[in-house]
């Protein structure tokens, strides 16, 4: 039965594919996101760009705010808990959240252990920068993955780096001889059976989205062409000049990511994009949290 639950949770992620998951902080924003074509919303008190500015310890959102968003939309609602904070995750499960993001955007609660996600009925999505991290999170019970990218910056460079690295490591595993897989499992510090899965299927056993730094339709198309199965957009929408228009454009860009003519048309006149921060200008690298 537990296995069945995990399977159903992976399948919910399959239904989200080709879609855009948007960060929202109020029921009003959730409704704008739904109208603009978000396939799910991430309920949080502050978007990553504001978390950066505010500094200090960043925690799970107020359940009241999450419930308000659950009531406002028919979409799946996700929420973040701190890395390793299984009590926050238990609370989110009690709220019947559709997906928990064990997220490096919040301050980590545990600098060694991630949450044992196999103990939960609700699904988890986790961030990963490389194949080792990705497979370790899956082994802990994650039913969906995303690149870490660098949240709240509007800078796509890290998401690109993480997606390229994961894809190239997958290609490498596929090219190995069978007797080389044992060593690969040791090197990546992951279970052998997951390495065998990647070797045989040439892909991860769960859906993998892009996240962290997506600010324009072109960013979304870039990530899709690099192998993302969908995108998370956090600060990029509600920190821009015309959130609704930009959100709609990014949604369409994810559907028609390889049609440059359509991309050109929908990139027109979107108003001000979020003010970006370059990676060498930021003091806090959130992607370094949780390995």
């Amino acid at each position: 039965m537990e296995n069945q639950r995990y399977q159903l949770n992976k399948e919910l992620a399959q239904m989200l594919k080709g879609g855009v998951i948007m960060d929202v902080t109020t029921p009003e924003q959730a409704i704008i996101a739904e109208k603009a074509g978000a396939c799910a919303v991430m309920a949080l008190e502050r978007i990553p760009a504001d978390i950066r500015v505010a500094g200090g310890v960043s925690r799970m959102s107020d359940p009241k705010m999450i419930k308000g968003i659950q009531e406002a939309v028919s979409l799946p609602v996700m929420a973040k808990c701190r890395i390793g904070h299984f009590a926050e995750a238990q609370i989110l499960e009690a709220l019947e959240i559709d997906y928990i993001d064990e997220s490096e955007v919040l301050s980590p609660a545990d600098d060694v252990y991630h949450i044992d996600k196999t103990k939960f009925k609700v699904p988890f999505v986790c961030g990963a920068r490389d194949l080792g991290e990705a497979l370790r999170r899956i082994n802990e019970g994650a039913a969906m993955l995303r690149t870490k990218g660098e949240p709240g910056t509007g800078d796509i460079v890290q998401a690109v780096r993480h997606m390229r690295l994961i894809q190239s490591e997958i290609r490498k595993i596929v090219s190995f001889r069978e007797d080389e897989l044992f060593h690969a499992a040791k090197e990546l510090e992951v279970p052998y059976d997951l390495i065998v899965y990647v070797h045989e299927n040439g892909k991860l056993p769960v859906v993998n989205f892009a996240a962290g730094g997506v600010a324009t339709p072109a960013d979304a198309a870039l990530m899709m062409q690099l192998g993302a199965e969908g995108v998370f957009v956090g600060s990029g929408i509600f920190k821009s000049g015309d959130p609704e228009k930009r959100a709609r454009a990014i949604v369409k860009a994810v559907t028609n990511y390889h049609d440059a003519k359509i991309l050109a048309a929908l990139s027109e006149d979107l108003g001000e994009a979020m003010v970006g921060v370059n990676e060498d200008e930021i003091e806090l690298l959130m992607a370094e949290r949780g390995k």
Binding site: Q4, Q7, L8, N9, E11, L12, Q14, M15, L16, K17, G18, G19, E34, K35, A36, G37, A38, C39, A40, Q70, S74, L75, P76, E96, I97, D98, Y99, K121, V122, P123, R248, V251, K252, V254, T255, N256, D259, I262
Partner: protein, 196 residues
């Protein structure tokens, strides 16, 4: 050879495509208006988020053409979100999308993800695996609608003319019963063209 267009705007369309290819069907993706220029014998509306797919259908100006095609008898299989797109009525909502099938559906009929489940059920008298992911169910059907499956006193599959819908996801299982039934509908529809 039979050609089926799969609406590929968002959701689990790849699973349907892989499934049809295994059954030897020619498949192509419908992502934009221009894709509709191709001739096809059947249409699949996959699972995903109905609000997303419907808003893309409107924005990409595909909605009207598909509605006309379905009204004119194009065989269509709608699974989960696809079922919602075809429904004439959605309980507790003013929204209508293609609205071509005389059914009244309840969106997120089993609640949130914790309510998702898998179960064996009878589809046209055959026991198959049914996977419900934040699924809708059918509350009421019009007089021309044939009920094909009932699980826990809820209608989860139905047919009206050439329109076939399931609340569950046949594309996520290894069982091809539903897809084969759909291909039968296409066969019969195509054969009609040759009748006097």
């Amino acid at each position: 050879m039979m050609t089926v267009g799969v609406l590929a705007l968002q959701g689990a369309f790849e699973e349907h495509i892989a499934f049809l290819r295994r059954l030897g069907v020619e498949v192509f993706e419908i992502r934009k208006r221009g894709d509709l220029r191709r001739a096809f014998d059947g249409l699949i509306l996959p699972g995903g988020e109905s609000t997303v797919i419907s808003s893309l259908l409107r924005e990409l100006k595909i909605m009207e053409s598909l509605r006309e095609a379905v009204k004119n008898g194009l065989p269509v299989l709608g699974t989960c979100a696809g079922l919602i797109l075809l429904a004439k009525e959605i309980a507790a909502s003013e929204e209508r999308y293609l609205g071509t099938m005389d059914i009244n559906v309840v969106r997120n009929g089993y609640g949130r993800q914790l309510g998702s489940f898998a179960k064996k059920g009878l589809f046209l008298g055959k026991k198959i695996e049914m996977r419900f992911i934040r699924a809708p169910y059918i509350k009421e059907v019009g007089k021309n609608v044939r009920v094909l499956a009932v699980v826990d006193h809820k209608i989860v599959a139905a047919q009206e003319g050439n329109q076939l819908v399931t609340a569950f996801h046949p594309e996520l299982t290894g069982d091809d019963t539903v897809h084969r039934h759909f291909l039968e509908i296409i066969h019969e529809h195509t054969a009609m063209d040759f009748k006097k």
